[in-house]
Amino acid sequence: MALDNDYLNYPLRRYGYDHDRYDWSMLDERAPVTWPGGKRLAVWINVSLQFYPLDQRGVPFKVPNGMTMPYPDLRHFSLRDYGNRVGIYRVLKALEKYGITPTYAINAQLAEQTPYLVKRLQEHGGEFIAHGWNMDHLHYGGQPIEEEAELVARSVDTLRRVTGQTIRGWLSPAKHQSFNTPDLLVKNGIEYCADWVNDELPYAFKTASGALTMMGLSTEIEDQFVMSQNLHSEDAWVAQVKDAFDFLLEESRTAGGRLFALNLHPWLVGQPHRIACLEEVLAHIARHEEVWQAPAGEILDAFKAARASDDKGTR
C-alpha cells in the first residue's frame, strides 16, 4: 500500500520560501550596518526569568527543563524557582560589575507574582520583553485562536501593567509558535520577536496585521542549550561563547556590523559553581572597544535608523 501520489506533489516549490512570512535574503548580500558610535558588534544580553508550574500539563509537549517526575516534582519546581530567588541576584551583580544593561524576558505570571523582583530589575535598569504567561502555556499549531489571542493579550497587558513599561518585544516560551502567533503579537502592539533564529540581524516579518521585526535570540550558545540540553561542561560553554563572540567581532570588521545575542537563565548560570563562568564571559565581552552593548529595543532602533539613512543615501 503506497502513499497517495500527493506526497510527491509540491505546490510551494518555487522561488523564495514555501511560506510567505518573510523574504528570502542572504546575510552577506545586504548592505553593511554600522552601530552607534561607529561600533562593530552590538551585544544583547538577555536574561530569561521563568515560572515552571508544578502542575505541568505539557500541552502540546513538555517544555525542556520543566517537570519530568511524577507529581509533585519538587526537585525541578524548586530548582527552577531558585533562579528567581537566588540566581538572578547573583546574575545582576555580575551584570553590574561589567556595566551590562540587560534585556529581561519575563513570564507575565512571574512578574505579577513577584513585585519585589520586578522592582529590583527596574532599579538595575534594562528593558522588559514579554515571555508569554508561564513555561507551561505554550503557543502551538492547532491551538484554538481564541485561546492563544487571550493568552498573548493577558501576557502583554499584565507585563505592561506590572512594569509600567511599553512592552515592545516578545520571546515565546521554548521559542514555540502557532501559525497565528506573529499576527497576534502585532495586534497587541509588539514590534519585535526573538523566536526565529534564522538570521543574525533584524529582518522584516510579515503578518496579516502589519509588520513585525524578527530579531533572533541565538539558541545555540545560550546557557541552557549548551549546559542543560547538550550537557557540556561550564568551561566548554565559556569557550563556545568566546569563540562565537570572537568570530562575529572579526567578521564585523570586514562584513559590517553584527549582532551577538546571548540568552541566560538564572536558574542555571546563577548557581555558585557557574557564576564565575558568566563573569568570565562578560569580562571577555566588556573589554572590547568595538562593542556596543544595549537592550534589544535600542539595538532595533539603531538598526532601523541605520537602514533609514542607507535609504536616503541611495536616493
Binding site: 502513499l3 506526497y7 510527491l8 509540491y10 499549531g141 501559525f179 534564522n198 538570521d199 539558541t219 568570530f247
Partner: protein, 317 residues
C-alpha cells in the same frame, strides 16, 4: 523485510588489492556540504514525523533556514580558503527556492548530487514507481539548473527502501549513461570505496561518506563540544593517512551550514581543514572524481579480491 540488504558481501579490510590515488596520494579527501530545504508545513508520513512538535516547528525550521541565509557563505569562504571544492548533497527543491546558492556553488565548479527533493519528504511508504519518479525528478532538477549529470545519491533524511540503490543506478543510466548514477553515500560499512551490487549490473560503488564525522550526528545527536570535533576530525584523518601509505583511503567531512558554520563552531572546522589540507599526499577531490577514478582503476581488482575472499575456506593452522 530482509535480514540483510544483500547488496554487498563480506570483504575484509585485510589483504585487499592496493588502492593508489592520483599523484600517489594516501587519502582522497572530500567535503560534502548538505544544502537542504526543510518545509515549514510538510505532509505527514506514516513512518516518520517531519518535525517533533505541531507545525510550525519554529526552532527546527529557523535554525535550518539560518544555514541557508547565514551559514552557507561562511562555509563557502572557508572551503575557498583551503582549496576545497564542495560536493553538495542537495535537497534539489533548493534549486527553485534559493537559486543564488546554486549559482555560488556553480561558479566554484562544485559538484551537486541528489539528496532527494526535500529533507522533509521521506522514502518510507513510496511504491517503487513513486520512488523512481522522485529520484528522477531530483536528478533532472540538478541537470536543469546546473547542467550536471548527477553521479551520487544520499537518500533524503537517509530514508531508504529496499530498492533505493537499484533505482538510483537505473535512473542515472537512463538519463546520463555512464556519467550518471555512479555512487551511493548511504552505506557506512567501509573506509574505502567498495563495489555495490545493483540489479541492473551497473558498475556501482559505495563511497565513504561517514556518519561518525557528520557534523549533525556529532553535534546534535552525540552532543560533542566544538573543539572536540576538531580533535576527532584530526585523529580520523591521522589514522586514514597512516593506513593510506599502504593502500589509499577516503575521508569525507559531511557538513551542514546550520551546524558547522555557526559562530561558535566554525573555528573548529577551520582548524581541521587547515590541518588536513596542510599535509602532502592528500588528494582534495569531489565525490564524482573519487568514484570515477575508483571505477576506472580499482573496481575490477576489488571484485576479484571479493570473490577470492569469499571462496576462502577455513583452514588448519
Amino acid at each position: 523485510m530482509k535480514e540483510s540488504l544483500g547488496v554487498y558481501d563480506y570483504w575484509a579490510y585485510d589483504q585487499r588489492p592496493k588502492i593508489t590515488w592520483p599523484g600517489g596520494a594516501k587519502v582522497a579527501f572530500w567535503v560534502a556540504p548538505n544544502i537542504e530545504y526543510y518545509e515549514l508545513d510538510p505532509p505527514q508520513n506514516p513512518s516518520r514525523k517531519p518535525w517533533p512538535h505541531p507545525h510550525p516547528s519554529v526552532p527546527g525550521f529557523s535554525i535550518r533556514d539560518y544555514g541557508n541565509r547565514v551559514g552557507h557563505q561562511r562555509q563557502l569562504r572557508l572551503l575557498d580558503k583551503y582549496g576545497v571544492r564542495g560536493s553538495v548533497s542537495l535537497s534539489t527543491a533548493l534549486c527553485e527556492h534559493h537559486p543564488e546558492i546554486i549559482q555560488m556553488c556553480r561558479e566554484r565548479d562544485w559538484e551537486f548530487f541528489s539528496h532527494g527533493i526535500y529533507n522533509t519528504r521521506y522514502t518510507y511508504g513510496l511504491s517503487e514507481a513513486q520512488e523512481r519518479a522522485m529520484i528522477r525528478d531530483s536528478m533532472e532538477t540538478i541537470h536543469r539548473h546546473t547542467g550536471q549529470a548527477c553521479a551520487g545519491y544520499l537518500a533524503p533524511a537517509l530514508s531508504h527502501s529496499e530498492h533505493t540503490l537499484d533505482l538510483f543506478a537505473e535512473v542515472g543510466e537512463e538519463l546520463f549513461g555512464e556519467r550518471g548514477g555512479l555512487y551511493t553515500c548511504d552505506l557506512f560499512h567501509d573506509d574505502q570505496p567498495t563495489p555495490v551490487r545493483v540489479r541492473s549490473g551497473k558498475r556501482f560503488i559505495s563511497l565513504p561518506y561517514s556518519l561518525e564525522m557528520n557534523d549533525t550526528i556529532v553535534y546534535a545527536v552525540n552532543k560533542v563540544e566544538p573543539r572536540q570535533y576538531a580533535t576527532m576530525l584530526k585523529r580520523h584523518f591521522d589514522r586514514l593517512y597512516q593506513e593510506g601509505a599502504e593502500s589509499g583511503t577516503v575521508m569525507c567531512i559531511p557538513t551542514h551550514n546550520y551546524q558547522v558554520s555557526c559562530p561558535h563552531r566554525i573555528k573548529a572546522f577551520e582548524e581541521a581543514l587547515e590541518y588536513i589540507t596542510g599535509h602532502s599526499d592528500v588528494w582534495v577531490a569531489t565525490g564524482r572524481e573519487i568514484a570515477e577514478y575508483y571505477r576506472a582503476h580499482h573496481f575490477d581488482a576489488a571484485l576479484e579480491s571479493m570473490q577470492a575472499q569469499a571462496a576462502t575456506a577455513p583452514g588448519e593452522s
